[in-house]
Symmetry: C2
Subunit: 362 residues, 2 copies
Amino acid sequence: MLYSIILAGGSGTRLWPLSRAGHPKFLYALTGTERSLLEDTADRLAPLSTAQETYVVTGIAHAAAIARQLPHIPEENVLVEPLPRDSCAAIGLAAAVIARRDPEAVMGVFSADHLIGDRARFVETIERAAMVARRGRHVCTVGIEPTRPEEGFGYLQLGELIETGVRNVRQFTEKPKRELAQQYLESGEYLWNAGIFIVRAGTFLEELARYKPALCEALERIGAAWDTSRRDEVLAREWPELEKVSVDYAVMEPAAAAGRVVTVPAGFSWSDIGDFHSLGDSLPNDENGNLVIGDPTRTLLREVKSSVIVSTVGNRVIAVVGVEGLVVADTEDAVLVCPRNRAQEVKQIIETLRDCGLSEHT
Amino acid sequence: MLYSIILAGGSGTRLWPLSRAGHPKFLYALTGTERSLLEDTADRLAPLSTAQETYVVTGIAHAAAIARQLPHIPEENVLVEPLPRDSCAAIGLAAAVIARRDPEAVMGVFSADHLIGDRARFVETIERAAMVARRGRHVCTVGIEPTRPEEGFGYLQLGELIETGVRNVRQFTEKPKRELAQQYLESGEYLWNAGIFIVRAGTFLEELARYKPALCEALERIGAAWDTSRRDEVLAREWPELEKVSVDYAVMEPAAAAGRVVTVPAGFSWSDIGDFHSLGDSLPNDENGNLVIGDPTRTLLREVKSSVIVSTVGNRVIAVVGVEGLVVADTEDAVLVCPRNRAQEVKQIIETLRDCGLSEHT
C-alpha cells in the first residue's frame, strides 16, 4: 500500500572519524543493537511496505554494501545515481521510476541514517500521512517537537487542523539563521521537519514540474528509459546536467507557501544523529550515563560519566579515566577527543585536515 | 676518568600504552627532540666518559635495540643479564666486570630513562661527585630538591658539609610511606635520591660484601669469568640464583647508616617521568601549555590547554578539541584518555587489562 524509499546518500562527516565519504554512518551499528542504521531503517519500514515496495536510492560507492545489508530488496529497487545531485534529484528519480511501474503509487521517503524510537507509533504516524497523501492534494511531512534553536533543520509553521492528527503547514523554512530559529522555538508554532515525505509519486512530479520544470522533464526522460535498454545512454546524457538542489528549497518551501503541504506531528522520538552528542542522547546509556559503541570488553571506563565512547577497531583497547561529558571516537586511522557540547566542531577538523593535505583521513 | 654505566631495564608500564614490557620508555623519543631517552642519556654522558668508558646493563629483550641506538659503544660494554635480578645485581655485575678490567675504575650509574635539564651543570655535579668517589671512602649520590611527598623515591637526610657542594647523608630511606614522606618534605632536611650513584667499582663491591656477601661472591665469580670462555657456563649456574633486591635497600640504606654515603645536591632539573603528567612538566610546552609528542602535523589541537598529547603511529590522526589538563596517548593497539592528575592510574588499567585476558595490550 506504500512504497518506502530509503535515501542512502550523504558523506556523513558529522560523525568523523567514524563516518567518512567512504563509510557513511548508515552502514554502522549506531543503533544500540548489532543492526546498522540502514538495516534498522529497513526493519522499521517492514510493517509498511513489502520488499517489492521498498526502494533504496544511493550512489555508486555504497550500492554493493547496501545490496549486502538488505538482501531481501529486489535488485531493480536499488536505484544507483551515477553522481550525487542532492535530494531533489534522488527523490525525483524514485518518483519517476515508481510512477512508471505503478501510476497510483504513494511513496514515503525516509533517511537511512535517522534513529527513531517507538516503532508502533512510527507506523501509525506514517499510515495516517499515507491516507492523506493518497488523495493526491498534498505533500505530507512528519513534524517533530523542537528542543533547541537548531539551524540545520527545516521548520514547519503549523496551520489549521485539517483532520484528526493532520495539520496544514503555513510556511516551510529550511535552515533558518540562529535568531530566526530561536524565534520559531519560542513561538511554539513550529515543528521540525523530520526529513520524511509521504506523497503520491505523481503528485510529487506535478509539484516538481511547477517549480523546477527542467529538472522534472529530465527526470521524466530518465524514468521513461529506466526499465529499458536505453537507461545507461539516457542517464549518461541527462544525469550530469541535473540541477543540484535540495527538495526542501526546490519543492517544500514553495509548495507550503501554496498551501499544499501538511504535517502529521510525530508520536515517536527522532534523531538525525547530527553528532556524537545527540547519538549519546538517542541511545540507551549505561548506569553512569555513558554510551559505549563497540566491543565493551575492549573499552575500559574508570569513573567516567555521561560520555560517548565509540570503538570500531577489533584489536585496539580504549582506556578512559576520570572524565565527564567527553566524546572519544576511535577508528583505524584516527581518534577524536572532545567535549560532547563541542561535537559539532568535527566539521572544522575535517576542513583543517583537508587544508593540511590529510584528506585521506576525512 | 669516569666509567658511565647506563641501566636500561624495567618494563616502564607507568607510561602505558606507550611503554610496555616489550617497549620500555627509554627507547622512545620522550625528550622534546628526535633522540630517544637512551640516546639522550648517552649524549649527556659523552663529556664525562669516552665510548670505551660507557657501559649499558640491560636484559636480553632490548640488547639489540640498544646496540643499534648506541652504535658507538663497544660490544663488550653492553652487559646483558640473562634474567632480571633487580638493580643491585645489575650494578654489581657492572662493578665486578669493570673492576677486573680496570681496578682503579670509578663508575657513575645512571638510568636510561630520566630527563635531565641543564647538561653543563649535570657534568659539573657528576665531576664533583667523581672527585669524592675516587678517594674510595664513600658512595656518592645526587640529591634533588623534593617538590611533593612522593612515595616512590629514596630520601637522603642531609648531614654536615664535608667539602664545597658535598654533604654527608645521615640516613637513606627508600620509598617511605606517604605520611613519612610528607614529614620529610616539610622538615626541609631531605633530598630525593636521583637514582645516580658515583662510586669506585672496588668500593661498591666492598660495601656489597658487607651487607650481601652471598650476592657479592656470586657476582665476583661472574666477573672473573666474564671475559673468559667460561662466561656462559658460570652465568648459567650463578645468575638465576642471585638475590633480587634493589641497591637502595641492599646497600644504600645500611651504608648511609654507617656514614659512608654522601650527596652532591643537583644543580639541574630532573624527572624520572613517572607518568604522562610529569612528562608534560619536564619538557618544553607550546604557547598553550601543551606537550605534543609525535608528528605535530597529524595532531590537531583546537582550543586545547595544558594537555599532554602523545602520538606514536605514523598514519593515524589525533584530533582533540576544547579540553584542558588531559592526557591523550595513542599507539598502534590502544589509546588512553585521562586527566593529567590521574595519570598514575594507568597501573590499575594494566591490572584490569590483565584480569580481562587482554595482557597482549600491556
